[in-house]
C-alpha cells in the first residue's frame, strides 16, 4: 500500500548524500520558512522533511528511483510564486528545487525556438528571446516565476487574448517520471499526430505527473510598437459590454483588462501609484501591437470608434514608454494594493465565456452583498478570466470570514458553471481549489483525472494531494 508514505530517516539522507552534493541537501529544521508555502500561505503551510536542490536530470532520476522504491513523496519547487498552494509538501517528504537548473541552452533561429532548463526565470527567457530579436509572449505578470513553473501551471496572463497561453508555445518537454525514467514528450516539430498528445497532459499538470528537466518553447517575431488605450466609462455594465465588440474588430487586441475606481483608490492609497485618469467609475485598458505607426494609427481609429460607439466617454492614448508605465504600473500593483487594503484574501480565478463576463461580474456583486464579504473583480476581461478577490475587512471575525467566504466561493463557482465557465483560468487547482474540483467537473470527469494521475504516478508520490484526490482507492486523500 503506497499510503501512508515512508518517513525519511537518517539512512535515506545518507543515501541522498551519495547522489547529491552535501551543500545541496537541507534537513527539515534548517529549511527556510519560505519553502513551507507559496504566495498563498492561506492554502496551507507545510514543512518538507528534506530540501534537495538538483542540478541535472541524472540527479533527479536517481532521487526518483529511490523515492519510488521507498515510497517517499516528492514535490517539485520552482520560484514558489504560485497562487494555488501547488508547490508545497502537503504530506512532507522531499521538496525538490530545480532553481539551480537555470541554464538557457540556446535560441534556435532556424526553428524560432528557445530551449531552457526549468529553473530559468520567465524574465530571463523573455530577455534571451528579445536579445535574439524574437518574442516570448506569455506573461502572467509574475516575471520572477520559473519557466518550468509556468509550463506545469499553463500560465496565462493578459496577452492571452492575442497570443494564447503557455501551452501554445511548448514544443517539447524532457522530464523524469515518478519511477526515475527520463522521457521526451514530443520534439521540436510544429505538428505531431504521433499517438496521444501526452505533452499537453503534462502542461498544466502542476507537478503531479512528472518532473520537467528541459523545455523547448516557440518564439515569434517581436512587434515593433506597443501602445495602450485607456477607455473610461460611467458604468461597469457599459465597460464590460464593450469587450465582445472589441473582439469582433478587424484585428485582435493584445490585451483587454478592466478595472474599477475602488481598485485604483486602493493602489493609490497604499502604493502611491496614480492612474493618469480618475474621472470615471470603470475603465478598460486595451493593449495593441503593430509593426508600423500607420498600422497602429488605423487600429487606434477602429478601437476608438468601437468603444465610443459602445458608450465609452473617451479613448485616451498611451503612445510612449512613460505613458504606458503610468498605466500599467497601476494595473500591476492591483494584487499588492488589495492585499494592503484587507486583513486576509481569498481568490477566485474562474474563467467564463467572453460573452458572459458582464453577467458574471454583476452576479459576483450580488453575492458580495448577500454574504457581507467585500468582493473586487479585476483582470482579464479580454479572455473571460475574471480575478474575483474576496477581501477580509476588520469587522469580520475569523469564523464569519471563513464561513462567508466559503459560501461566496460555492456560489461564484456555481455561477461560473451555469454560464459555461471553468473553475480556474490560470492559477490552477493546487490545494486551494481542490475541495471544489469533484463537484465542479462531475464524477465521471473526476475519475478520468484520477486515472490519468495513476497512469503516470501509480504510487502517488509526485506532489500528492494536489489537483486530484485519490481517496476512493484508499490512497492519500485531499
Amino acid at each position: 500500500m503506497p499510503f501512508p508514505y515512508h518517513k525519511i530517516n537518517g539512512q535515506d539522507i545518507a543515501h541522498f548524500r551519495t547522489i547529491i552534493g552535501e551543500e545541496r541537501i537541507v534537513e527539515k529544521e534548517a529549511v527556510k520558512k519560505e519553502y513551507h508555502h507559496d504566495e498563498m500561505p492561506e492554502y496551507g503551510v507545510y514543512a518538507p522533511d528534506l530540501l534537495i536542490e538538483a542540478i541535472n536530470k541524472e540527479e533527479i532520476s536517481q532521487i526518483m528511483k529511490y523515492a519510488y522504491e521507498k515510497n517517499i513523496p516528492v514535490t517539485v519547487r520552482g520560484a514558489g510564486t504560485g497562487l494555488a498552494g501547488g508547490a508545497t509538501c502537503k504530506y512532507g517528504g522531499i521538496l525538490l528545487s530545480v532553481m539551480k537548473m537555470n541554464r538557457i541552452l540556446g535560441v534556435d533561429m532556424d526553428n524560432m525556438t528557445i530551449t531552457t532548463e526549468p529553473g530559468a526565470l520567465l524574465s530571463e527567457v523573455a530577455d534571451a528571446a528579445s536579445a535574439a530579436g524574437l518574442f516570448y509572449p506569455p506573461d502572467p505578470g509574475e516575471r520572477t516565476a520559473s519557466i518550468g513553473g509556468t509550463v506545469v501551471t499553463n500560465a496565462g496572463g493578459m496577452r492571452a487574448v492575442k497570443y494564447g497561453v503557455t501551452r501554445d508555445y511548448v514544443r517539447a518537454i524532457e522530464a523524469v517520471l515518478p519511477d526515475g525514467e527520463i522521457v521526451n514528450f514530443s520534439s521540436n516539430v510544429v505538428k505531431n499526430t504521433t499517438g496521444y498528445d501526452l505533452k499537453d497532459l503534462v502542461i498544466g499538470s502542476e507537478g503531479t505527473l512528472c518532473i520537467l528537466t528541459q523545455v523547448t518553447l516557440k518564439l515569434i517575431a517581436k512587434p515593433k510598437l506597443t501602445w495602450s488605450l485607456v477607455i473610461p466609462y460611467d458604468s461597469i455594465e457599459h465597460c464590460i459590454s464593450t469587450v465582445p465588440k472589441l473582439l469582433k474588430m478587424s484585428f485582435v487586441p493584445t490585451a483587454i483588462e478592466f478595472t474599477e475606481t475602488d481598485v485604483l483608490d486602493m493602489v493609490e492609497k497604499h502604493l502611491n501609484k496614480r492612474f493618469p485618469d480618475r474621472s470615471s467609475d470603470a475603465y478598460l485598458i486595451v493593449m495593441l501591437d503593430a509593426n508600423t505607426k500607420e498600422e497602429m494609427e488605423k487600429m487606434v481609429e477602429e478601437a476608438a470608434g468601437t468603444a465610443i460607439g459602445a458608450g465609452a466617454k473617451d479613448v485616451l492614448i498611451s503612445n510612449t514608454a512613460e505613458r504606458s508605465a503610468s498605466v500599467w504600473s497601476v494595473r500591476a500593483g492591483t494584487l499588492e494594493g488589495l492585499k494592503a487594503d484587507s486583513l486576509s484574501q481569498e481568490e477566485c480565478d474562474v474563467v467564463v465565456p467572453r460573452s458572459k463576463i458582464a453577467e458574471y461580474v454583476l452576479e459576483a456583486k450580488k453575492i458580495s452583498k448577500k454574504h457581507g464579504i467585500r468582493i473586487v473583480t479585476v483582470g482579464h476581461a479580454g479572455d473571460g478570466n475574471i480575478h474575483t478577490e474576496l477581501l477580509k475587512d476588520p469587522h469580520l471575525t475569523e469564523q464569519e470570514w471563513k464561513v462567508n467566504t466559503h459560501a461566496c466561493l460555492e456560489e461564484l463557482y456555481a455561477v461560473s458553471k451555469r454560464l459555461g465557465g471553468q473553475l480556474s483560468g490560470e492559477h490552477g487547482i493546487g490545494i486551494g481549489r481542490l475541495e471544489h474540483m469533484r463537484h465542479f467537473v462531475g464524477e465521471r470527469m473526476y475519475r478520468l483525472f484520477q486515472s490519468v494521475k495513476m497512469v503516470f504516478d501509480d504510487k502517488n508520490i509526485l506532489n500528492p494531494g494536489k489537483v486530484v484526490a485519490l481517496d476512493s482507492k484508499g490512497r492519500c486523500g485531499a
Partner: protein
C-alpha cells in the same frame, strides 16, 4: 490667466546615436516624442487653467516636424500651439535657445505664467527655464514639486532645496520649472484629437521676432562648444549582501547612504 508652456521634441529612445564627426545627436530616422518632463509642465498648466480660467499656449523651438508634437499637445488639451522654426536657429546652445524662446514669448505679448519641465532627456542641462526668465527679467523658481496656492494675484510653490523645502510666492509674470511627479500627466484624448483636427499650429521664424540681431541666435549666438559627446558607460556592477534579514537591511542602508542615494 495666460500660461505659456515651453516644450521640446526629443528622440523616442534612450539609446541615442551620436554623429562621431560633429558630436551632435543624430535625429534623422528616429521616432520622436514630447520630452517626458514637459508632460508634467503641460499637466500643471492645464490644471491651473481649469482652476482659475485662462489659456494655455505650448511653445517650442525646433524643426518643422515638431508640428506632430503640437498635435499631441492639442490632444492633451492646450488651447494654442506655436513652433519657432528657422534655419537661423540651428545649432543653438542653452543661451541662444533660451533667448530665442524669450523672443517668441515677447512676440506672443508675454504671459502671466511660464511653465517648463525641469530638464530634457536629450540635452539634460535643466537651464533653459531659468535662462528664459532671466532674458525676460521676471522671477522664477526651478524644480517645483507642488503648488501651494494659485490665484489671480500670485502663485505659491513648494520646491526642494538641498537639505530643506522652501515655499516661495511670486507675483505674475513669473516662470516655474516643475519636477516630475508634481501630477500624473493626462493621456492624449481621442475625442480632443477629433475636435482639434482643424486647429492651426502657428509657425514663427526669425523674421517675425522683435530682435533682428543675428549674433544672438543659432550657432553664431552660441558660445558653448561641444568638445566631445559620448554615451555614459552602463554600470553593471553587482553587490551580493549576505546575512540574516536584519544584517542585510543594515548593510543595504549603509551602502545606499555611502552612494548618497539615501
Amino acid at each position: 490667466m495666460k500660461i505659456i508652456v515651453c516644450i521640446k521634441q526629443v528622440p523616442d529612445s534612450s539609446d541615442v546615436a551620436i554623429d562621431p564627426e560633429s558630436g551632435t545627436l543624430i535625429r534623422m530616422g528616429q521616432n520622436a516624442k514630447t520630452n517626458p518632463y514637459d508632460l508634467y509642465a503641460i499637466e500643471t498648466a492645464l490644471r491651473i487653467r481649469d482652476e482659475v480660467g485662462g489659456t494655455v499656449t505650448a511653445l517650442t523651438m525646433g524643426p518643422p516636424q515638431a508640428e506632430e508634437m503640437m498635435r499631441d499637445a492639442y490632444m492633451m488639451g492646450v488651447d494654442e500651439t506655436v513652433v519657432m522654426s528657422d534655419r537661423k536657429f540651428a545649432g543653438s546652445d542653452v543661451l541662444a535657445t533660451s533667448y530665442t524662446l524669450s523672443q517668441g514669448i515677447k512676440m506672443l505679448e508675454g504671459a502671466d505664467l511660464i511653465i517648463c519641465g525641469k530638464q530634457t532627456t536629450d540635452g539634460d542641462t535643466a537651464q533653459i527655464g531659468p535662462a528664459i526668465a532671466e532674458h525676460l527679467d521676471i522671477p522664477h523658481v526651478a524644480w517645483v514639486k507642488s503648488l501651494e496656492e494659485v490665484n489671480d494675484r500670485f502663485i505659491a510653490v513648494v520646491h526642494q532645496m538641498s537639505g530643506h523645502v522652501q515655499v516661495s510666492e511670486m507675483p505674475y509674470p513669473c516662470l516655474i520649472t516643475v519636477d516630475k511627479d508634481i501630477f500624473v500627466p493626462r493621456l492624449p484624448s481621442y475625442k480632443t484629437k477629433l475636435s482639434t483636427r482643424e486647429k492651426e499650429v502657428r509657425f514663427l521664424s526669425f523674421a517675425d521676432l522683435p530682435d533682428k540681431n543675428l549674433s544672438r541666435f543659432g550657432i553664431i549666438g552660441s558660445p558653448t562648444q561641444v568638445d566631445k559627446m559620448f554615451p555614459p558607460e552602463a554600470a553593471e556592477g553587482q553587490v551580493h549582501i549576505e546575512g540574516n534579514s536584519v544584517e542585510k537591511a543594515n548593510r543595504l542602508v549603509a551602502l545606499l547612504s555611502e552612494a548618497k542615494i539615501l
